[in-house]
């Protein structure tokens, strides 16, 4: 066995009212990828922030390279060789790759001005060392994709000579793609980079919700729950089911919990020949009452664009929308709502929630008519309806007056779902409904979607997670480059078939 480079022992940390960490251990060796998993709120972020020097620990010991250390702050942690690459990436968007890599360590010439030639040359050297292609040191950060930005963060970490690299959900904003054709796939590139770092002898702490990645890349897995260490497993000796049940503290036979025979009714929503610039071309599909229609495709294939165009959030060039066989002319979300549609947007915080508003205000936001009389708000009705949904959707909030920004991701998503349920929609389009939320809340949302379908709602589900699409949908349509390229029935659909359609790569290449 190799020696330990990082040892965190008996770490305890309390916040007002919460014991965030209750005696957690973490041990990582050089040349190892240690996956750190747990539901949201399990304490992963707190543990990492202690390692990064952002939080002080209450109790416990930290050893780096065998030496006990008392972290004084983020800079101290960095000097000791700890680099943390946060989910939201800490890069300055409007300056160059090279300036970001060497932020705070610029090369100066004799006049005290920045020596750009040396700066770019050195940045290129680090990019080359890591075989990062497609990134120019002169590029502005904002011109790069999320995956490329992560590469820049990694180059920065390596240039700082960090031996412990923490990656906090690096792929949460990237599409899951499970093909073997690497050039299409940003996740693949990222995972290969992690492997390269491992081969250079770095110790990597990899935080992710995605089981497939964890099992592809990690050597060991540390599982946390409710601020406690649940266990450490060798990746080769466990399986995703075991890890998930360790995370949630119970067995999960079938996450998607789909009822066996859904009663599928008539066509409720039909979209014909939807066109929008060069983004959407001739898209036609329908969805029936009680059915879950999955829309699969790579990022940029036009899935959200289709949803937004149908919902009237974006203009379309041509295209007809029929509800129960009758054509409806939807030119704004307002029209769409009146026609019986609902749309749960992809970006919960940007487009779904009113973060600074109370839970009850969010629940009533799309259906002010139901909580008012002639334009006058009826607070009692608003509170009653809001309490009903908080209860029936099991939204965990201290009160309906709580600001929605203070809720966890899963509960926030349930608030947005409640907002649409108050309207009793005939069709509900859900766009990445479980992105960035923990396993427990995911299951609750899957159950909600099933319940809606059982009540006769036609559900359209857009998702980048193939297991989710496969587990939930009765039927799947696949988009590629703005076109609908195929339709698969539940019983014929496989990840491979969807990916072939989504990427346009033929099976011979894939195998």
């Amino acid at each position: 066995m190799q020696e330990t480079i990082l040892l965190m022992k008996g770490i305890r940390k309390a916040f007002p009212g919460v014991q965030a960490l209750d005696g957690v251990d973490l041990e990582v060796r050089p040349g190892e990828v240690m996956a750190l998993v747990g539901e949201n709120g399990a304490g992963k972020s707190t543990l990492i922030k202690i390692l990064a020097g952002t939080y002080r620990l209450d109790e416990g010991e930290i050893y780096i390279g065998g030496q006990q250390v008392h972290l004084r702050g983020p800079k101290h942690a960095r000097d000791l060789g700890v680099s943390v690459i946060y989910q939201e990436l800490n890069l300055a968007e409007q300056i160059s790759v090279a300036e970001n890599i060497f932020a705070g360590r610029e090369f100066k010439n004799k006049l005290g001005l920045i020596d750009y030639k040396t700066l770019y040359a050195n940045a290129q050297k680090w990019l080359d060392t890591l075989h990062i292609t497609g990134v120019n040191p002169r590029d502005e950060i904002r011109s790069l994709s999320i995956a490329k930005k992560q590469m820049v963060e990694i180059a920065k970490a390596i240039s700082l000579d960090s031996n412990i690299i923490v990656m906090d959900e690096p792929t949460s904003s990237l599409p899951t793609v499970t093909t073997k054709s690497t050039d299409l796939n940003e996740v693949q590139v990222l995972l290969e980079m992690v492997d390269k770092l491992r081969k250079r002898g770095k110790a990597i702490i990899y935080i992710s919700h995605r089981m497939d990645e964890i099992f592809r890349i990690s050597d060991r897995i540390t599982v946390m729950r409710d601020g406690k260490l649940i266990g450490v497993k060798n990746t080769g000796e466990t399986n995703p089911d075991e890890i998930v049940s360790m995370m949630v503290g119970r067995d999960l036979k079938d996450m998607y919990g789909r009822p066996k025979a859904p009663a599928i009714g008539d066509v409720v929503l039909e979209v014909r020949n939807l066109n929008q610039g060069h983004r959407l071309k001739d898209i036609s599909f329908n969805v029936r009452a009680g059915e879950v229609l999955g829309i699969a495709g790579l990022v940029g294939a036009g899935r959200s664009e289709t949803a937004r165009a149908v919902f009237g959030a974006d203009a379309r060039d041509t295209g007809q929308v029929f509800m129960n066989g009758k054509e409806v002319h939807i030119t704004s979300p307002d029209h769409a709502i009146r026609a019986g549609l609902g749309y749960l947007p992809e970006d919960r915080k940007k487009a779904g929630l009113f973060l600074k508003m109370a839970v009850k205000t969010n629940v009533s936001a799309a259906n002010l008519g139901a909580v008012s009389n002639g334009g006058w708000l009826n607070n009692a009705t608003e509170e009653r309806i809001s309490r009903e949904y908080v209860k029936s959707l099991n939204i965990r909030t201290p009160s309906i007056d709580q600001l929605s920004k203070n809720l966890s991701g899963g509960n926030q998503q349930k608030v947005v779902i409640a907002k649409w349920l108050t309207l009793k929609p005939k069709v509900l389009i859900v766009d990445e409904p479980t992105r960035g939320i923990d396993v427990g809340a995911k299951i609750e949302i899957y159950n909600l979607i099933h319940q809606m379908a059982e009540q006769g709602v036609a559900v359209v589900m857009i998702s980048s997670e193939l297991p989710e699409i496969l587990g939930m949908s009765d039927r799947i349509v696949v988009l590629r480059e703005g076109r609908l390229v195929g339709e698969l029935d539940r019983k014929d659909a496989t990840e491979e078939k969807i990916m072939m359609l989504a990427t346009g790569v033929t099976s011979e290449v894939l195998v």
């Binding site: 009212g17 959030a313 979300p333 307002d334 940007k350 508003m357 936001a365």
Partner: protein, 336 residues
């Protein structure tokens, strides 16, 4: 991570319920964002009453109240715009163009008083409507559009008056600005009524709720079926109508209309709203806060005069107060 596993032992339940009920009744005093500024206003009133000879007498109080009323009317319109996540720099100029046109109508053309006032309010509404339409149709930020309207409306006023002032308003009209109901000046009553209506509109109607929704998250409001563009046009129109109302009261108060009056009004109005705890990002703020903000600014102006401080210093103080208020509010939010 939230833990609400606090259990109340049965014996204490009764007391806790009672305390909870009391806190429910009075707790708002401590919770509301306006509490801090209200405290400052009270302290300032107390200080000025004790430290100066004339602050507390009826005559001066009427002057202060009238001044605060004028600022409040303007600031209430600004509150709506800021709640929506916008800004309106043109209110001072709208005051001027309205004042000048009312003067033209009433003095030069001898039109009836009610008709002249209606013309004034109509002009205000039109200016705001143009602001709103330009903002929603061109997508140019409100800051730029209303900056343009600021120059445009003032320029128009100067063109119309050729730089001269209009005076000689009829006596009954001047009552609006100079008269009293008992000890209370009419402008104060007008401001109070408008404040009450605006407060009810914001807190009790779906229209008010939609203003908060748009200001809180425009995209989410749109996707929730709010007609965001229509809301913007209406709110900018309302804001300018508040400015026009202020113009009516002001011309009646000073019995004159000038093309070069009203400079810096937009800053005073924005200042009052911001001191009152509104967020420049929209979605946060209230009429009560704005009234307190306007009161604070009015008290500082009057207090400095009473204390014998040069009027040139007033703006220095007002500016400092704005920075201090926002800094304190930002700090308070961060510490939560």
């Amino acid at each position: 991570m939230k833990s609400d596993k606090t259990m109340t032992p049965p014996a204490e339940t009764k007391r806790a319920t009672f305390l909870h009920a009391v806190a429910g009744r009075l707790g708002w005093l401590f919770r509301v964002r306006e509490a801090g500024i209200a405290a400052v206003v009270l302290i300032l009133i107390l200080f000025l009453t004790l430290a100066t000879d004339n602050f507390g007498n009826a005559e001066n109080l009427a002057i202060v109240a009238r001044q605060i009323a004028l600022v409040s009317i303007l600031a209430m319109g600004m509150t709506l715009v800021i709640l929506l996540g916008g800004i309106d720099l043109s209110v001072g100029s709208v005051v001027v163009i309205t004042a000048v046109l009312i003067g033209k109508a009433m003095v030069n053309m001898a039109l009836p008083i009610p008709l002249s006032i209606l013309i004034g309010l109509g002009v205000g509404a039109l200016a705001g409507f143009i602001n709103g339409m330009l903002i929603t149709r061109t997508g140019v930020p409100p800051f730029i559009i209303t900056l343009g309207m600021m120059g445009l409306a003032r320029g128009a006023a100067l063109v119309i008056t050729k730089g001269n002032s209009i005076s000689g308003f009829p006596k009954p009209y001047l009552e609006i600005g100079q008269g009293y109901l008992g000890p209370v000046p009419y402008p104060v009553i007008i401001a109070a009524v408008l404040a009450l209506l605006t407060h009810i509109m914001l807190s009790r109607t779906t229209f008010g709720r939609r203003i908060y929704l748009v200001g809180s998250n425009e995209e989410a409001a749109l996707l929730s079926g709010v007609n965001v563009n229509r809301m913007k046009v209406i709110v900018y129109t309302l804001c300018s109508m508040f400015a026009a109302t202020e113009a009516v009261v002001e011309t009646a108060r000073f019995s004159t209309a000038m093309g070069n009056a009203g400079t810096g009004y937009e800053l005073t109005a924005i200042g009052a709203v911001i001191i009152g705890g509104a967020s420049m990002n929209g979605g946060e703020g209230s009429v009560i806060g704005t009234l307190l903000g306007a009161t604070l600014l009015g008290l500082i102006n009057n207090g400095l005069i009473q204390l014998g401080v040069s009027s040139y210093w007033q703006q220095v103080f007002s500016g400092s107060i704005i920075i201090l208020a926002v800094a304190l509010d930002t700090w308070r939010r961060r510490s939560k």
